[in-house]
Amino acid sequence: MARVVVDVMLKPEILDPQGQAVQRALPRLGYQGIADVRQGKRFELEVEGPVDEAALARIHELAETFLANTVIEDFVVKVEESVAAGESK
């Protein structure tokens, strides 16, 4: 079974309050030198059957309509190497 990863990030010009909160917390915790933090979401999809063009098109569609809010977010679809048989259900 193959794994496809969808990374969803707020568009660069959109305010990211969570990322800002993390960034502000870092110096308080003694970590210097981090100028900015943007926080996103990562979806790992275990795909049944081959990850061919049709499957990717479907995933692209579901990412665009469901996983990401494309008004304010961008997303990237990546195929990861096959998961070892033992790990999958």
Binding site: P12, E13, I14, L15, D16, P17, R24, I72
Partner: protein
């Protein structure tokens, strides 16, 4: 792109500028050139274009809105009138209350959660800028058909956004409305209201005076959000058909707003500001030009000093950005250090970006070069004013002639029963608890009444129990049939709602939602509605304190119903004297106040049973509304009534069902002499309410009504566990509850 300085603009008069892409008309662009005596710089063009937009300049509505000032009733309670961020009303005991309702319609359609959330944030900052602590919010909402798939996209997002932002701020959401109608498909209306409380001496105004005073921008950093058209300025190619580089959507941060509220209130307490303004639509362009034009001098701003979230922003974009959670203050030099100290304490970024200057120019610099040199009033207040043509649409006569009185009425008692069950279960009449339960209604511990009561009421003073009540109402169906009467009916209903809960109505705010002003029919609706509202406010003695106009709510040729939403604010000396809607005591008598006529035009019944809209809306009698309100307030104060519910859409039966379900008690009703059951139960005549009177108070109450000339009819008694209309039908409360409460979750959950 080289920097377009004032000097450069003066030397290159022939440069082609993207005024059209920025939404300006040719004559408007010509006027800018005339005002400046040269072509505007890119930054100036950006400022003028956004400040002269319909949204900021009210260029189509201004000529009609001035009636609210001209016809304003004498009212000692009004401390600050139209024109400031929000009006301020004296509620006694040294307290003043400010409130305002605004629209955030278009952003909420594009991105429901953030659009609605930032709508709440914006109105809260308006109230804060007056010097008041925000104490409650309300949201009048309108969506397309309840079963339309897009409603299922928009509504949950809007509700979650309102709840999310308001809950994070710790502000109770005490009411509002939810209306469904296919006319709002693609143009949902998301209006937001905020109420704030302060002492008289704490009122602050938006003005920049005192040469040498510093201009401080504080709150969130400025980013590239909400910059619609200005992207054409920042890009090399002026391609109006290409997608905008920046989305017109902003994301809010309620925790930042909470810090801004507490920080600003502490700054007020130490009396550190001369003038203050929130940053909303048009961002810094608006704040600097409005502050400067309200003060005595000019203003000089170093735009490089504005803290940015995105270092690549151009000066035009910084001026236009609608990044949320920002405020602008004018501070005497000696107080700047303390101001910055308080901001630091609250973790709020604050930066001196400029100062008040002698002279009358707003001057903005970027890397040492001047990019803006304008008379601020020409940007903020002296924009174009249009006398748009308006004409009563041809179809208006046919619509009014299509009398709802001619519709088939129920043939027998069984049919009447079925139709009433259908009515109370219809999306517009059904319980909205699924929505309002998602809001925190009781945070801060001062909420006395909230939805589904007639008005939202909060306690203002914990010792004296002084309180204020607010209701928002609007009926687009009535307004479509007759915009003049429709606006007055919205006013009357809101006024009645406040009085029914025991509070004395003092002043109003309004949000006028209409289609395109370029359509003479829409402009006629707007002209009629504003005239109706101004006349109505004069007669009721409740001045308009401010509000907002939202035009272009239409898709293609189809405009929404004209939808003037009216918010009435009232005061109650002791919130313990409030009147709830619940029928809670068996044996108490149910009285109907006012006259019932056969009035079904625009009614809920005509919509639910016949999907019909035609005829004339109910007649308006504002003298009667005043009398009814006086009686309701006196009866509440003197303990003569234990419940009251205003009558509006759905008529007597809708109100009785709501009061019964709220109190968990049934009612036995008798059709009064001279009325048939159908008219009695379902007519929507205005100027009416039902009340529950303890038997011990019956004589005193009816005597008072009789002495003052208010028609009063005993229509039944609180009893049992059903709503029974003698000789007609019997509807068990359990059946009514299922019908009333399962509709909205069934459609949306």
């Amino acid at each position: 792109m080289t920097l377009d300085t004032v000097k450069h603009a003066a030397e290159t008069p022939a440069v082609d500028q993207p005024w059209k892409e920025l939404g300006l008309k040719q004559d408007e662009y010509a006027r800018i050139r005339e005002i400046l005596g040269r072509r505007p710089t890119g930054a100036e063009l950006a400022m003028y274009s956004v400040m002269w937009s319909e949204h900021c300049s009210y260029k189509s509505s201004k000529v009609h809105l001035k009636q609210f000032g001209e016809k304003a009733p004498e009212n000692d309670a009004l401390l600050v009138g139209i024109g400031e961020n929000a009006g301020v009303v004296d509620v006694g005991q040294g307290y003043a209350v400010t409130f305002k309702v605004e629209s955030h319609n278009h952003p909420s359609y594009i991105e429901p959660y953030q659009g609605a959330a930032t709508g709440v944030g914006g109105i809260v900052r308006d109230i804060l800028a007056m010097g008041a602590r925000p104490v409650a919010v309300m949201d009048p909402l309108r969506f397309g058909a309840a079963d339309h798939p897009d409603t299922k996209r928009v509504l949950p997002g809007v509700v979650a956004g309102i709840g999310g932002y308001g809950n994070c701020l710790g502000l109770p959401n005490i009411g509002g409305e939810v209306v469904f109608d296919p006319c709002y498909q693609g143009n949902p209306l998301v209006n937001a209201l905020c109420v704030g409380v302060m002492k008289h001496e704490d009122i602050h105004l938006a003005k920049a005076s005192g040469t040498g005073n510093k201009v401080i921008l504080y709150g969130a950093r400025t980013g590239g959000d909400g910059i619609g058209g200005v992207s054409v300025l920042a890009s090399e190619t002026f391609d109006s058909t290409g997608p905008s580089r920046r989305p017109a959507v902003q994301v809010g941060d309620p925790f930042q707003e909470k810090l801004l509220i507490e920080c600003t209130l502490e700054i007020f307490r130490e009396d550190l500001v001369d003038g203050i303004q929130d940053l909303g639509g048009a961002g810094l362009s608006c704040a600097t030009s409005e502050l400067a034009s309200a003060g005595s001098g000019g203003m000089r701003v170093e735009l490089d000093t504005v803290p940015l979230r995105d270092a690549t922003l151009s000066p035009e974009e910084i001026l236009m950005s609608e990044s949320q959670e920002r405020m602008c203050a004018v501070v005497e030099p000696g107080k700047v250090d303390r101001f910055l100290e308080i901001c630091e304490k609250w973790d709020v970024i604050a930066t001196v970006i400029g100062e008040v200057t002698e002279g009358e120019r707003l001057e903005i610099f970027w890397h040492g070069e001047q990019i803006v040199d304008v008379p601020p009033r020409t940007v903020a207040h002296e924009g174009p004013v249009y006398e748009r043509p308006y004409a009563r649409p041809e179809w208006q006569d046919a619509l009014q002639a299509d009398d709802a009185g001619a519709l088939a009425r129920p043939a027998n008692a069984d049919e009447l029963r079925e139709q009433i069950l259908k009515l109370v279960a219809s999306p517009n009449q059904a319980s909205k608890a699924w929505i309002t339960d998602q809001y925190d209604r009781f945070v801060q511990g001062n909420t006395v009444l909230a939805q589904p009561e007639d008005s939202g009421m909060v306690r203002v003073d914990e010792d004296s129990n002084l309180g204020v009540a607010v209701s928002t109402d609007g009926n687009g169906r009535y307004a479509k049939l007759d915009p003049y009467a429709g606006a007055q009916l919205a006013l009357a209903e809101s006024y009645r709602n406040v009085a029914a809960s025991g509070a004395k109505p003092l002043a109003i705010s309004n949000c006028l939602n209409f289609g395109s002003p370029e359509d003479p029919a829409v402009m006629w609706q707007f002209a009629e509605a504003t005239r109706g509202l101004a006349d109505g406010c004069l007669e009721l003695g409740t001045p308009v304190t401010g509000g907002n106009v939202s035009l272009y709510n239409q898709t293609g040729e189809t405009a929404i119903h004209p939808t003037p939403v009216v918010a009435v604010l009232g005061v109650i000396d002791d919130v313990n004297r409030r009147t709830p809607i619940a029928f809670a005591e068996e044996g108490q008598l149910i009285y109907l106040l006012g006259d019932t006529h056969e009035e079904f035009g625009g009614s809920a019944w005509s919509q639910v049973v016949h999907d019909h809209l035609g005829g004339l809306p109910p007649r308006v009698d504002l003298e009667r509304e005043k009398l009814l309100a006086d009686i309701l307030i006196s009866a509440s104060r003197d303990g003569m009534i234990d419940a009251a519910h205003d009558l509006s859409d759905g008529g007597v039966v809708q109100a009785v069902v709501e009061s019964c379900l709220r109190g968990g008690k049934g009612a036995r009703l008798v059709v009064p002499d001279g009325l048939d059951a159908f008219t009695f139960l379902l007519s929507e005549s205005a100027g009416r309410a039902i009340v529950a009177v303890p038997r011990s108070e019956e004589l005193r109450f009816t005597d008072m009504c009789g002495a003052r000339g208010l028609p009063v009819t005993r229509i039944g008694v609180i009893d049992g566990d059903s709503v029974e209309v003698q000789g007609e039908f019997d509807l068990p409360l359990s059946e009514l509850r299922t019908a009333h409460e399962e509709t909205v979750p069934g459609l949306l959950a």
